[in-house]
Symmetry: D2
Subunit: 336 residues, 4 copies
């Protein structure tokens, strides 16, 4: 099996995660790392055995087959376009863009290159969710009637990140929109969203919310409830429950270790894994492994720009629903 | 401790349940049972050691201290009024009425008698929910931010019952409205409700729904999600989860027995208790025990006509929200 | 269905438990209570609506159909013999005797009266263990290979009780001997027992142990491990696990309430029920209900003097195994 | 950090597992693989990017710093001796030998080289057991009183393996002996072992057992129960429970995925991981990572030849206890 030379753009939190996974993969050879802050690029390069480089050098390097884009969200789309235009396959951390119209406009250009672009909706590669979907598709619980998603973060984000995050729905709930669409295998036709700033007043002062509840209706009539919170007090709370005509399937939280302590105040399990980095560590590795399959030509990207656009359109509708305090219809055609 | 002579009005499903509990109680003496079908009254009377009687005889019997009202819903309010006017204390199965305005109009008459009227919101007497509330009130999870209630029935109701049920919100969700208000200890100010007929088309043909999702907002900003379904395929699914600023509290389902079987297809717990009658068996007994406390003069009714009216107003608002497809404000004053 | 007049002998801890259950039963009428301390008898009589009486008065009262024996262990056998000789059916708290030879000698006398004698091995009436046995008998896990019993008390017994308890094996492990025999449906042929005083040195000073591990071998080759401890630090730990050729069945502990709290230190369930009185509350009620069936002539006693003798013989062998530090054979014939 | 060149001796089941882990490690460079069957060595070499070689070539290759010994058990000790005499550090799959006296005799030679020898008791590197030990050492449950280990294999071993396995105690229970000693941090002073052939008569025909129960007593008085079975019908059953003076700690089984299905027959979790290869996959990787630490000079081997000898002495005593049907004392001095 060929080893694919790849470069990384963006050496921050997500870039470091993907860069380390690429360096540890036997199927990828991380050769270059670019960041607008060269010191950060050099530090990660030293750690992973890669070279710091400029994005232009990466694009010009014919030996580099693919680019991992993990720069700041606002530059994702430009970087992806530049990479495919330079003939590189792309793995891009989600979201591809915060602007649905801009993304829709760029779709033709991206797809025109016929180069594979994988968008990092990491949950699609989680083994637990994958098993749930597998059982659902196998008919174990009959026809889907209701989907519940709990997506609660352990603690509010760094306040400096909030203004450029795109807001809760585009930054955070977007994972749920993609997960729900993927699990159910059908588009949503209507959404109602409501939210509040219950946790961190500074988040509200920046115009964002930290708590949200949403109800979506799918094309088949299936109903979906999503709960978001930016604080739990007990680690990462990520649960999915799919109710069907013949039963239900649940994915629960994952504990730090499979240890239980019995004491005077009851039985106590270890805490949940603290954040997405731990909870989805395996999913991130599997995601890159899937990207290697894509580079091998053995698989099409499991999630691409159109999935990203679909989730973004739902996030836009959620914002409108919340601001107008009414349900909003989703134009199913938009996403296809 | 005095033993209180009580009579039962209505010997159907709920009447039999309450009648048997009253007969088994050492604090109540079930002496008379009335039903519009005398044969049913006589059968339950024979089983419980009581006498069949007419409602008029019961009202006229000065030895009878209290009346348990478990007749058909449409007669609840009239029976309660007649009983208190005859000087009897009353335990009335929920809902007191399906018509909020009629109930509001009758409130003064009921309260004018100064006789205690306990309304049977059985969940308030469930030991598991009671423990959750106790821990919440003790501050174990800080300030409430979100409440999730799953209330899924094992199987759709008898179709003959649907037209006189008052509809899903007044018949079924009303328990959730009361539970949520009781647990949070604050009124709701807004509701959004949506529903569908996904399970039993006949229910839809009768103008009702069998699946619903609701979002409520409390006076403090707390958000509440309610999920209703008339079918599970796996017994009675009744879960409550309260998320606070410092943690969460969960009440799960109760299994038929605490037995786990390990086999080639995994570990399997016993099924959940099948329906409300099993799940809340202890709550129904505790409820009557509380009624004996009320008759002893040692307690005020834990839930009375005003709680019933409050829940009914929320159910009315839920219907309006669903039919108008928009959030509806709740007039907090109405209920007090 | 007839209501059976019964009397209680012994108004201590176990006597109060059985007396209250008898008083609350619709099928039994507790009329008299005797205790060597009349004040205690009178107190329980006042609480339960019975009369204090002497044991002689009870035996002479032709209206009394049955006697519940819950006096001190050393008087069990004499009281049972006196009761059956007076023509009364008997329910006797376990153990019938601490002396196997004395019990064996009395067997003919007891059985000669042809009066039913039920011995209170309460676990046989536990719904969870009953469900495990039902599933095993139904063949759900194939042929039994191994049985594990954990029987750990929350805290050491009152030291004053230790000298008259008969020692750990006759007082405590005897439940496990009966449970194991009942669940497996076969006699044991060999036992190895070892113990230690690890918890309370005073127990050791009194010649007893507080911790024990035992291995038994059944007639079919099945192996059984029993673990005993007089202290947990976390309530009553009572678990049974039966491993078969096609799977396993487990009965776990029962929690105070079905509530889970999520916090910074992990997920925490409510404590286990604290002691046998709570854990087996339902079993004790069912046991008396079964005794009412016996009095109705609808059932033979589920556990009788021969079961008591069998368990006692095993306890004797356990003592010998521990003192001689070697396995001891069990004469299967003895018990039949 | 230096990358250490290592060679592998033995390319069978365990050799493949370690070889693949070494090849995937960024800290080890697997350069050579020897097996008495060159075809097997070449196949694994091709897969891992190593070269097939003879053991002699490996010993003679000065560039090779360490040898991973995963040949057949009977050759472990000779291979280890040869490797250390050739100046190589060694990682050896357990057991180092099936003959305690031979191992004791070789100890001086091995230790005389002052080269590190790590013995593969994989469970010491399991994160769940590690967390249990960490909590115990931190004092979370007070003083240890009882340790229970369940070690049940999913299915009997290949019959061809049985005669050269050393028997159940040396092949299988030896893990439990090491785990118990490691967790408790104290030596055992007495053992009682009993066993049977309940599962596979062919195992008995070969002079081995497939089911065993053991009781050990530690120097502090702590009691340890071990249960072994060669069949579960439901995957790998590996549980450890440590009871202390102030509570208990439990390590449970690990499921294939964190998915639960609710259906008419109850709630069902995914099966347990099927065998040691899946259950301890992470432990095997951590073990090699620890070996890299040893090669870096940053750690002493966590388990060495003396631990192997200690466990082997206990296994010998278990065999004697079973054959003589009596407890056997363990000479604590032997192991130190």
């Amino acid at each position: 099996m060929a080893v694919h030379k790849v470069a990384l753009v963006g050496a921050g939190r997500m870039g470091s995660l993907h860069g380390r996974n690429a360096a540890a993969s036997a199927r990828l050879d991380l050769v270059s790392i670019a960041d607008h802050d060269p010191a950060i690029a050099e530090q990660l390069a030293a750690e992973t055995g890669a070279q710091a480089a400029s994005f232009e050098q990466i694009l010009a390097d014919g030996a580099i087959e693919a680019v991992l884009v993990a720069s700041s969200t606002s530059s994702h789309l430009d970087n992806v376009l530049a990479a495919v235009c330079a003939g590189k396959a792309v793995f891009c951390e989600k979201p591809l863009s915060l602007n649905a119209d801009a993304l829709a406009a760029a779709l033709a250009d991206i797809e025109g290159t016929e180069l594979p672009v994988l968008v990092g909706f990491n949950r699609r590669f989680d083994p637990h969710l994958g098993k749930l979907k597998q059982r659902f598709v196998a008919g174990d619980i009959g026809k889907a009637e209701t989907l519940h998603i709990i997506n609660h973060d352990p603690a509010p984000p760094n306040l400096a990140f909030v203004p450029r995050s795109g807001g809760l729905f585009k930054d955070f709930t977007i994972h749920d929109f993609d997960t729900a669409t993927w699990l159910l295998g059908e588009p949503f036709v209507e959404i109602f969203a409501t939210g509040a700033c219950l946790i961190e007043p500074e988040v509200g002062a920046l115009g964002d919310i930290d708590t949200a509840k949403l109800i979506l209706r799918g094309a088949s009539g299936v109903l979906c409830m999503i709960s978001n919170s930016r604080r739990t007090g007990y680690g990462y709370d990520q649960r999915v429950e799919l109710f069907g005509s013949e039963g239900a399937l649940q994915v629960g939280n994952v504990h730090v270790a499979n240890v239980r302590q019995l004491g005077v105040d009851g039985g106590r399990d270890e805490p949940f894994l603290y954040s997405f980095a731990e909870r989805y560590a395996e999913a991130y590795r599997t995601e890159l492994d899937h990207f290697a399959d894509v580079l091998d030509g053995r698989a099409a990207p499991a999630t691409g720009p159109r999935d990203s656009l679909r989730a973004l359109r739902i996030a836009d509708a959620a914002e409108r629903s919340m601001s107008e305090a009414m349900p909003v219809s989703l134009a199913v055609e938009d996403a296809h």
